[in-house]
Each structure stands twice: as structure tokens, then as C-alpha cells.
């Protein structure tokens, strides 16, 4: 029996993907689990593996095509199998639901006859089934209703595709988003220019930032940090690493990641997310580090950085950032953050305010470390300072919580030996 493979959601936020390249051609044989194609998602280029073993009978999308999640991609079956009916079915499938819906509306009194006609002409029952029956266990139905999930969006793993408890629970995992915001562009008709196609990543950044900006009340707290001691310690560490030929340098960023993670571990009230079900307290302290890549921005994540040595953190960030630039991070590697850090110090930015990176309740924006005149004990002197700004989700935390967290964080930044305890 020929099987149809559909475009998979290869990242938690993916709604469509670009079929970057087929790695199999029609007539090639393929094993279950073998890579069929490379797909550019909103975050990265991912390998899509076959669910079936057999011969590739028909490719339903060309290289470079944009395909919605759930739309058919490829037919796999036995060599020489007749799939003409299946292909026809799939090709008429896209148009069919709206057609038959229109028919039903037109003829309210047509009764059985109309239904039969629609059946004869229309798509296969399973597909015309936008109004069709969904098989779900009573418990799954109840949980879905409680959580406000639509059973139509959930695929069932029970017998005959029955949706059961574990399916609903799995569907609930990725933070529920409001329906994707329509992207409203600017009117550019008065000025000549040319348009480049948006990459999947750019589209996602645009869509998600509109969502976050509209749905999350931000407030900001800015503080100056005395970085003199930190910079001295860092120089000392790097001199010793160089002398030991360790092939490793600790950056200011690595130190901030470690300090933030330790501060969050000490002050878990900040390590939360606002969800429709309540305040979610993360069990891990995972720092998302904003990395600029060619097409936009991504936050590779250092998991439980408070438990890792500075060397481990430094190496991990190098490795993750490298793969981020190649578009080769897995969804977990860029989605599992509980707090994010963005740093523009290398561009000599004094201070800036960042937009929260969901599901985190806060993001820390760090400016450059500067030599500035400061007053110490009534005397004007030269100080080494950095300005940090914390953007907080006001639904999840209040000003005092943010300020207290900054106190804990600044203690680590200004007393860097604590990072080694």
C-alpha cells in the first residue's frame, strides 16, 4: 500500500517549511528513518526522515517550494504500484473541503440527495471531514476542553487514530500561542526600491515579536554595575589560560551568563513563565544567549549554567553559536531557555532595552564596559562600569521582584570570586 508523507512540524513554532532539497529522487528506494529531504524551517535547516520503507513513487513538491505543515510531500510505496487515484485524490484534496461546504450551505432542504452528490464528486470522506468525527477518549476530550485545546489540532496515537490522554498532554507542551498574528507591512509605494523574499526565520521573528509586543506588558529596570573587579579577574584567568595553552578564552559574556544563572538559582521567583494555566516555575535554569546570524537572531541555550564551570559554559556557547550560524541547531537547543541575555557591548552601545523572549519572564540587555568618571567616597575618579537593563513580563513578576533579582545578580557581577564557589 502506498503511503503519503506529509510536511512535519520540525520546530515547535513551524507552520510551513521550504523544501530546500530532496535527497531522494522518484524511483529511489528508501528505508524508514533514512533522510528524505532537507527542510528549511523558521529556525534552522533540518533533515526530514522517512516514516516508511519502500520506493519513492512521487515527489509532490519541488525543491524550493514552501509547503504548509500537514500538506502531502511524497508518496512512498512498492515499485510499480498504481498511484494515479491517490495522486488525483491528493491534488483535488486541497480544494475539496471548501467546495463541499459551499454545497451544503446552498441546499438546506436538499437532504440525502445533496449529500450523496457531494460524496460522489467530493474528496474522500476523511478529507471532506472538516466537520467529520474525531475519535478521542472521553478523558482526552475532557482534558482538551479544560485546557482550551482544539481536538482538530491534535493527532491521535491510539487505535484507529484515537486521541488519548498522552496526545493531549503532548499537544499542550509547547506554550500555547494566540492564532498567528497577521503580518501588517508598511506602505512603501512612494519610494522606489525592491523587495527581497523573507526567509522563514525572518517571518517567524516578525510574527513572534508582534505577538510578544502586543501580549506582554514589559517594564524595565536599569542599573550600573561596577565591573572593575570582574575585568581584572577575567584578565587574570585569560593570562593563566594562555600560559597553560588551554586554547580557551573567557569572555565578558560567559561571565554574565554564569552570574545570571547563579542569581536565578538563588532567586527562583525570576525563573518563571506566565502561562494560561498559571505561573510556571521552571525546574532548570537555562540561559538563552542571543546570537546574531545572517538571517536574524536565535537564542542557543546553555542548560543549567549555574552548575557548569566557566570553561564549560564558554566552550558550549562557542559550539552552539557556531552551529546557530550554520542553521544546524535542534529545536530543543534554541527553545529550552528560561531566561535570556542579549549583549551589544561589542558595538559600544551604552545601554538598550530588549524585547522578552517567550516563554521567559525576563531578558537582560547588557551595554559595553566603559571607563567613566565616577564619584567614590566624595572623590571624582575613573571607574569601570557597565549598564544592564532587565525587561520583565509584568504579568509574571512585579517591579520589586525584578529589582531584588538585579541585586542578587549585581552581587555576583561585582564580586566575581563568588562565581567559583
Amino acid at each position: 500500500m502506498a503511503e503519503v508523507m506529509e510536511m512535519l512540524a520540525l520546530s515547535p513554532t513551524m507552520e510551513e517549511g521550504v523544501l530546500a532539497e530532496w535527497l531522494k529522487d522518484e524511483g529511489d528506494s528508501v528505508e524508514e528513518g533514512e533522510v528524505l529531504a532537507e527542510v528549511e524551517t523558521d529556525k534552522a535547516t533540518m533533515e526530514m526522515e522517512s516514516f516508511f520503507s519502500g520506493v519513492v513513487l512521487k515527489l509532490l513538491a519541488q525543491d524550493g517550494a514552501t509547503v504548509k505543515v500537514g500538506d502531502p510531500l511524497v508518496i512512498i510505496g512498492e515499485e510499480g504500484e498504481d498511484i494515479s487515484e491517490l495522486v488525483e485524490e491528493l491534488q483535488s484534496g486541497a480544494a475539496a473541503p471548501s467546495e463541499s461546504a459551499a454545497k451544503e450551505e446552498k441546499a438546506p432542504e436538499g437532504g440525502e440527495e445533496t449529500e450523496q452528490a457531494a460524496e460522489a464528486e467530493g474528496a474522500p470522506a476523511s478529507r471532506a471531514a472538516d466537520g467529520g468525527r474525531i475519535k478521542a477518549s472521553p478523558l482526552a476530550r475532557r482534558i482538551a476542553e479544560d485546557k482550551g485545546l482544539n481536538l482538530r489540532d491534535i493527532s491521535g496515537s491510539g487505535p484507529g487514530g484515537r486521541i488519548i490522554k498522552r496526545d493531549v498532554e503532548a499537544a499542550e507542551k509547547p506554550a500555547r500561542r494566540a492564532p498567528a498574528a497577521e503580518l501588517v507591512g508598511s506602505d512603501v509605494s512612494f519610494v522606489p526600491g525592491e523587495t527581497t523574499r523573507l526567509s522563514q526565520m525572518r517571518k517567524t521573528i516578525a510574527r513572534r515579536l508582534v505577538e510578544v509586543w502586543q501580549s506582554t506588558p514589559h517594564f524595565y529596570l536599569t542599573r550600573q554595575v561596577d565591573m572593575a573587579s570582574m575585568m581584572e579577574r577575567r584578565k587574570e584567568i585569560n593570562d593563566q589560560l594562555a600560559a597553560a595553552e588551554a586554547g580557551l578564552k573567557i569572555s565578558v559574556n560567559d561571565l554574565i551568563v554564569k552570574a545570571a544563572a547563579m542569581a536565578l538559582a538563588d532567586y527562583p521567583k525570576m525563573n518563571v513563565a506566565f502561562t494560561p494555566d498559571g505561573l510556571y516555575h521552571f525546574d532548570e535554569v537555562n540561559i538563552g544567549v542571543a546570537v546574531a546570524v545572517e538571517e536574524g537572531l536565535i537564542t542557543p541555550t546553555v542548560r543549567n549554567a549555574h552548575d557548569k564551570s566557566l570553561g564549560t559554559i564558554a566552550r558550549e556557547i562557542r559550539e552552539l553559536a557556531g552551529r546557530a550560524r550554520e542553521g544546524r541547531l535542534t529545536p530543543e537547543e534554541y527553545s529550552a531557555h528560561t531566561f535570556s541575555i542579549s549583549k551589544l557591548g561589542m558595538y559600544d552601545i551604552d545601554e538598550f532595552l530588549a524585547v522578552i523572549n517567550p516563554p521567559d519572564a525576563a531578558i537582560l540587555a547588557c551595554g559595553s564596559v566603559q571607563q567613566i568618571p565616577v564619584v567614590e567616597d566624595g572623590e571624582l575618579t575613573v571607574g569601570t562600569r557597565m549598564k544592564i537593563s532587565l525587561a520583565c513580563d509584568h504579568r509574571a513578576v512585579d517591579g520589586a521582584v525584578g529589582a531584588e533579582f538585579l541585586q542578587v545578580l549585581v552581587r555576583y557581577l561585582e564580586n566575581p570570586m563568588l562565581l567559583f564557589v
Binding site: 472521553p138 478523558l139 482526552a140 475532557r142 491510539g158 487505535p159 490522554k165 498522552r166
Partner: protein, 328 residues
């Protein structure tokens, strides 16, 4: 704690209740001189005399009727059926008279009667002598049906049954008479309608009673070992009225149910429990209620076919896996 056999636990219950209350007496085929077909009444004739331990002819309808009349008159008879296969002859007495007297006399009459004896398959006893007929009694309002699975329960439940003000059908699995188990020396009672939790787990509720419980224990051990599935195992003990509270608490936690019974599937106690769970606990179910029971055929005589016909650990384990959506 001391261990004694199931039959001895029943014997102690009878002796203690006869000592405690002069109105209690035992009547049935071979209960006196022969000490009972299954030796449950051993020594009772010597201890209590022929006035209270009475042998009858082979007349089930007759001595059941004597028991009912005596109960109406104020005594507390225990009627022993050699097996419940023969009690079919007394169904008119039990269902039309014992179960109805309180209702039809508007409470003027009561029938504090126990009808007890062996039930279920016994090992190559063939179709007419291997039946689990609890459904016939559980069907009728006015009857309670108790079916112990352990020596301790057998004793505590029989004492409760004898003290009950209404007719109790007390079915003892034929193959359990020799089962040894811990039984306290001191007096205790096990209430009507209270189930017993044999094993705690959050993955699947298994409901059983009498001999089938022992198959269910093996099935639960199997899935725990092979699949890491932890079964919440309930011994109903009383099948009518059954312990709805314990079943509901368990199913709300596990969302899955397997009902295991020794008898046939159609119009059975297991069918009624499944129906109740499916209706009352519908919103908590993540899978259809699974059932394991005797195959829907007269019991074969051949021992290997009898085994194949009865529930088994393997069949129960498979049913638990189906309920848990684990590939069988």
C-alpha cells in the same frame, strides 16, 4: 500470624457464630455425619449436636425452603449447597421467596439467611459442575452476594453474612478451599460492600473477586515486570452491592480499567461493573473498559481445555496492555 486453610477459616466462622448465637444452625447435604463434602463443617456435629447441624436428603429446593421458613420465624440458618451448580434447583426459593419476603410483607418478614457453598471450576469436573453463577443472584434486588478470595476474608465475611438481617449468597471457590493464608486469632468482621486493595498503582485499575483475583495478581505481576505498568488491584469481595467508592477513586486516578471474572461474559457481574464504570466514570476513561472472563462456552472436561477456557495471567496481562495502549 498463624496460617490456616480457607476451609478451616470458614469452619471457625461457623463455630464461632454458632457459639455466639444459639439461633444459628447449619443445614444441607452431608454437612453433619460426613463433616461436609468439602470438610467445611468438620467437627460441628460433635460440638453442636444434631439439632443444629442437620443432614438433608438431596432436595435443594426443599431444604432451602426450610431455611427460609426458619429465618422468617426468627432463626439464623446457614444453608450449605454442596455446590452452586445444584443450587439452581433452589432458585425459585431463593429469588421468589428469600429475596422478596421483606418487600412483599412490607417489612413484616425478614430472611436472615446465608446460602453458602462451592462455586466455579474445580479441575475436570465438566460443564455441569464447573459454573460461576454469581450473576444469577446478583441480578435480583433483595440479595447480597459475597465471594471471598482469601482465608482471612472468608472468615470475616462469613461471620458478617450470618449476622446480616437479610439473605446473603456466599460463594466459595472450589479450588480455594485448600488455600493457606494468615488469619488473626482474635475476632474480626469484614463489612458487606467493602472492597480490598491488593496492590497500589497509578497505571491501570484491575477489578476482580474470588478465584479470578489470583489470576489477576499474576497478570499484574507480569505487566509490572515486563512493561513497568503499576496496577491498582481491587478485590471486590462483595459483588453486590459492590464498592463503588473504591472503584471510582481508583479509576479517576488510572483512567483505565480491566474487569476479570471467572464466569461467562454475557449478562455477568463483570458486564454490569463495566457498564457502571463506562457510564458513571465516562469522563475519566482514556481507553475502553477491558474484560477477561471464561470463554463463552460450556466448560470443557479436558483439563488443558479447562485451563484454556479460564482467565489466565497472560490473557489478563494482554488486556492490561491494551487498556494502556501498549502493543500486545
Amino acid at each position: 500470624m498463624r496460617e490456616i486453610a480457607f476451609r478451616q477459616a470458614l469452619n471457625e466462622a461457623l463455630a464461632e457464630e454458632m457459639k455466639r448465637d444459639e439461633d444459628v444452625f447449619l443445614i444441607g447435604e452431608e454437612v453433619a455425619e460426613y463433616n461436609g463434602a468439602y470438610k467445611v463443617s468438620k467437627g460441628l456435629l460433635d460440638e453442636f449436636g444434631a439439632r443444629r447441624v442437620i443432614d438433608t436428603p438431596i432436595t435443594e429446593a426443599g431444604f432451602a425452603g426450610i431455611g427460609i421458613g426458619a429465618a422468617m420465624a426468627g432463626l439464623r440458618p446457614v444453608v450449605e449447597m454442596m455446590t452452586f451448580n445444584f443450587a439452581i434447583l433452589a432458585l425459585d426459593q431463593i429469588i421468589n421467596h428469600a429475596a422478596k419476603a421483606r418487600y412483599m410483607s412490607d417489612g413484616q418478614l425478614s430472611v436472615p439467611l446465608v446460602v453458602r457453598g462451592a462455586g466455579g471450576a474445580g479441575g475436570s469436573l465438566a460443564a455441569q459442575h464447573s459454573q460461576s453463577l454469581e450473576a444469577q443472584y446478583a441480578h435480583a434486588p433483595g440479595l447480597k452476594v459475597m465471594m471471598p478470595a482469601t482465608p482471612k476474608d472468608a472468615k470475616g465475611m462469613l461471620k458478617t453474612a450470618i449476622r446480616d438481617p437479610d439473605p446473603v449468597i456466599f460463594i466459595e471457590s472450589e479450588v480455594l478451599y485448600g488455600l493457606n493464608g494468615e488469619v488473626p486469632e482474635e475476632e474480626y468482621l469484614i463489612p458487606v460492600g467493602k472492597a480490598d486493595k491488593k496492590r497500589e498503582g497509578d497505571d491501570c485499575t484491575v477489578i476482580s473477586w474470588s478465584r479470578a483475583l489470583h489470576f489477576a495478581i499474576q497478570g499484574a505481576d507480569k505487566v509490572a515486570e515486563d512493561d513497568g505498568v503499576e496496577v491498582d488491584l481491587i478485590d471486590l469481595r462483595t459483588v453486590r452491592p459492590f464498592d463503588r467508592d473504591m472503584v471510582a477513586e481508583s479509576v479517576k486516578r488510572t483512567n483505565r480499567v480491566v474487569v476479570v471474572e471467572e464466569g461467562w461474559p454475557f449478562a455477568s457481574v463483570g458486564a454490569s461493573i463495566s457498564e457502571w464504570v463506562s457510564r458513571e466514570l465516562f469522563d475519566w476513561l482514556d481507553a475502553p473498559v477491558e474484560r477477561v472472563h471464561q470463554r463463552d462456552v460450556p466448560m470443557p472436561y479436558a483439563f488443558n481445555l479447562e485451563t484454556a477456557s479460564l482467565p489466565s495471567a497472560d490473557r489478563i496481562a494482554d488486556a492490561i496492555r491494551r487498556a494502556c495502549y501498549i502493543e500486545v
